[in-house]
């Protein structure tokens, strides 16, 4: 019975079926040009089923905004008013569960900066209101209250905060040096968006794989490595990679209110500085100036004069890096691969080149497109280099200015408002001291 219906591949392509195909095509062509097999006319009154096209769920979108604002407000209250590490940490865990595991870590404020950049570069690119709010709200809160977003709302920060059980101090010089990496990452991400090469922050997000319970193997390994590092070096991603942190850092420096270590006057015991795993507490200015005023002023002047030079140098290097940078772009990679295959450098083809050849686009069109994109990378690379040069110069100027401090203060830029230092401060607040004694008086 079955043997009657056998059609191995040779048979499939065999004369019998070719004739059948040809006959069908011949008959079908005048009536319906696009179909090989005409749609049957059913005698039994068969009606085909409808297509199930469910729309995207809108239910959670509004809630995300509500929860974001609620969490930011609560974080600000916990950090500035209530000053309780435990409460901040509980809110952190809530954010980890809600924004991380429940909402799968998307949309997040860190990635939203790419959408905003894409929206600014390309006026036809649509950015939903949720994304705009996720980008703006943490920055506005940072301008008002410091980095409360990092403290308890960001799911990426939360997952690292949860594993930071045995933090050790990173040498301040290493910390300062590595803090330029997020600036470079931010520059690269903006360059990638501006040249239409994709969202690299999302692509190399080490923790989103845990939230979604799945990612590519290399990213999971990277995420696992980051968490392992995070046990000892608290929040490695936030401090040494996070590009959104660069913006938050700048906003937090200007913040209207900021977490204070001591509720009253600093007695300069230095306990808080030992408790901070982020090197984010600056000590009081030493009584004796480390160098003469003249020497300091001379160096500062030199650095300010060097700034344009560093910008130019950065821009020059960035422009020279056009070729390697342009490989971020998939079109450039495809064009190079196609050219390589044409020249016989590769013996195999890839899925990309197969798909390109199937599209019947002439190679020249692709090459022209790739050349145009590479030109974008020349200007973009120069901009990136100049930006990095400027930021390095700013950092150098910032470290060479001696600021007067009478006690231990959080560094407004790098302090993540995590609240670890609160309980280490032996000074109790004036109202906390006066309140019990007042009650005591009443009881008497």
């Amino acid at each position: 019975m079955i043997s009657d219906f056998r059609f191995p591949i040779s048979d499939w392509m065999g004369t019998r079926f070719l004739c059948f195909f040809a006959a069908i095509l011949f008959i079908a062509t005048p009536a319906q040009a696009e179909f090989r097999f005409p749609m049957p006319e059913f005698e039994t009154g068969y009606q085909h089923p409808p297509v199930y096209t469910p729309g995207p769920s809108n239910a959670m979108v509004g809630w995300d905004i509500v929860v974001l604002f609620a969490a930011l407000t609560l974080a600000a209250i916990f950090v500035l008013k209530r000053r309780k590490r435990r409460e901040i940490f509980l809110l952190t865990l809530f954010s980890l569960i809600y924004f991380g595991f429940w909402r799968n870590g998307c949309v997040c404020a860190v990635g939203s900066l790419q959408n905003i950049a894409a929206g600014l570069c390309d006026s036809s690119y649509g950015v939903p209101l949720t994304v705009v709010i996720f980008f703006t709200a943490p920055l506005i809160f940072a301008l008002l209250f410091g980095r409360v977003f990092c403290a308890a709302v960001c799911p990426l920060g939360a997952v690292q905060e949860a594993v930071a059980v045995r933090p050790v101090k990173v040498p301040p010089a290493v910390e300062k040096g590595l803090s330029i990496v997020p600036v470079i990452y931010l520059g690269l991400a903006l360059l990638s968006v501006a040249t239409g090469s994709g969202f690299i922050i999302c692509q190399y997000d080490p923790f989103v794989g845990f939230f979604r319970m799945g990612a590519s193997f290399s990213l999971l390994v990277f995420g696992f490595f980051m968490l392992l590092t995070g046990i000892f070096v608290a929040r490695p991603y936030c401090r040494f990679l996070c590009p959104y942190g660069v913006l938050l850092n700048g906003c937090s420096k200007l913040s209207r209110y900021h977490a204070t270590i001591t509720p009253s006057d600093c007695i300069q015991c230095g306990l808080c500085s030992d408790a901070c795993p982020y090197n984010a507490i600056n000590g009081p200015t030493p009584a004796a100036a480390p160098e003469s005023r003249k020497k300091g002023a001379y160096r500062l002047g030199l650095l300010i004069l060097l700034t344009p030079l560093m910008i130019a140098l950065g821009g020059g290097i960035g422009g020279l890096l056009k070729e390697p940078l342009s490989r971020m772009n998939p079109t450039v990679r495809l064009a190079e691969r196609i050219a390589g295959e044409e020249l016989g450098r590769y013996t195999t083809t890839t899925i990309e080149t197969d798909a390109f050849r199937a599209s019947d686009t002439p190679n020249e069109t692709l090459y022209a497109e790739a050349v145009a994109i590479k030109e974008k990378f020349r200007t973009g690379g120069m901009g990136l280099g100049a930006f990095i040069g400027l930021m390095i110069a700013c950092r150098l100027i910032a470290v060479s200015i001696l600021r007067k401090r009478t006690g231990y203060e959080p560094d407004r830029g790098t302090c993540l408002s995590c609240g670890r230092c609160f309980k280490y401060c032996p000074v109790k607040s004036r109202c906390a001291e006066s309140q019990p004694s007042g009650e005591h008086d009443q009881n008497d």
Binding site: I2, R36, M39, Y52, P54, C106, G111, N115, V132, T350
Partner: protein
């Protein structure tokens, strides 16, 4: 006097920063762009198979859709049967679909209806390729929006070799091959 000056400079910078970010946000938000979602353009899709492997979900949100109004209801279905199948029946060894997600049902001689079992479909596009090569091309891949988490940048779109993924308005989130289908949502 000095602390006051410093404070006012910081105040000025703060307002400037707020204006900068707020202005950028307003400039983008005033476009009132509708919510966009990812969808596959069936005309561009080359069935490379990456939809099944590159989605961030454990099982891809991309599923096979069947345009019944384009289907030839063939007995010898290029989307259902393997090219080296031993018979035109529902035998597992004959089915092209690796998860047996296509159901074959007899309608009337010699016609068969093919329906996709969405729970089993992984979006590999093998049947789509087969149907396109040997049939009418009534099978095609679409992102199912009740499953898709709508990432800011779709991981499949990033990996798609034929640039078939594009953003479409959430109010009309499908690119169906035939407009003669009755839709239910």
């Amino acid at each position: 006097m000095k602390p006051l000056q410093k404070q006012s400079r910081r105040d000025f910078l703060r307002i400037a920063a707020a204006a900068l970010f707020g202005g950028a946000a307003w400039w983008i938000a005033r476009r009132r762009s509708p919510r966009m979602v990812w969808q596959i353009d069936p005309e561009k899709c080359t069935q490379c198979g990456r939809c099944a492997t590159h989605c961030v979900l454990p099982v891809s949100a991309v599923k096979c859709f069947h345009s019944y109004s384009m289907c030839g209801y063939c007995d010898l279905c290029g989307g259902y049967l393997r090219p080296d199948a031993h018979g035109r029946n529902t035998g597992a060894e004959n089915q092209l679909c690796p998860t047996a997600a296509i159901r074959r049902k007899f309608i009337e001689d010699p016609y068969y209806q093919y329906t996709i079992d969405e729970k089993l479909c992984i979006g590999c596009g093998k049947c789509v390729k087969g149907c396109g090569l040997f049939g009418n091309g009534s099978l095609y891949l679409q992102v199912k929006h009740d499953l898709c988490v709508n990432c800011s940048e779709c991981a499949i779109a990033r990996a798609c070799p034929s640039d078939a993924f594009k953003l479409v308005p959430a109010s009309d989130p499908y690119l169906l091959k035939s407009n003669q289908e009755e839709r239910i949502s």
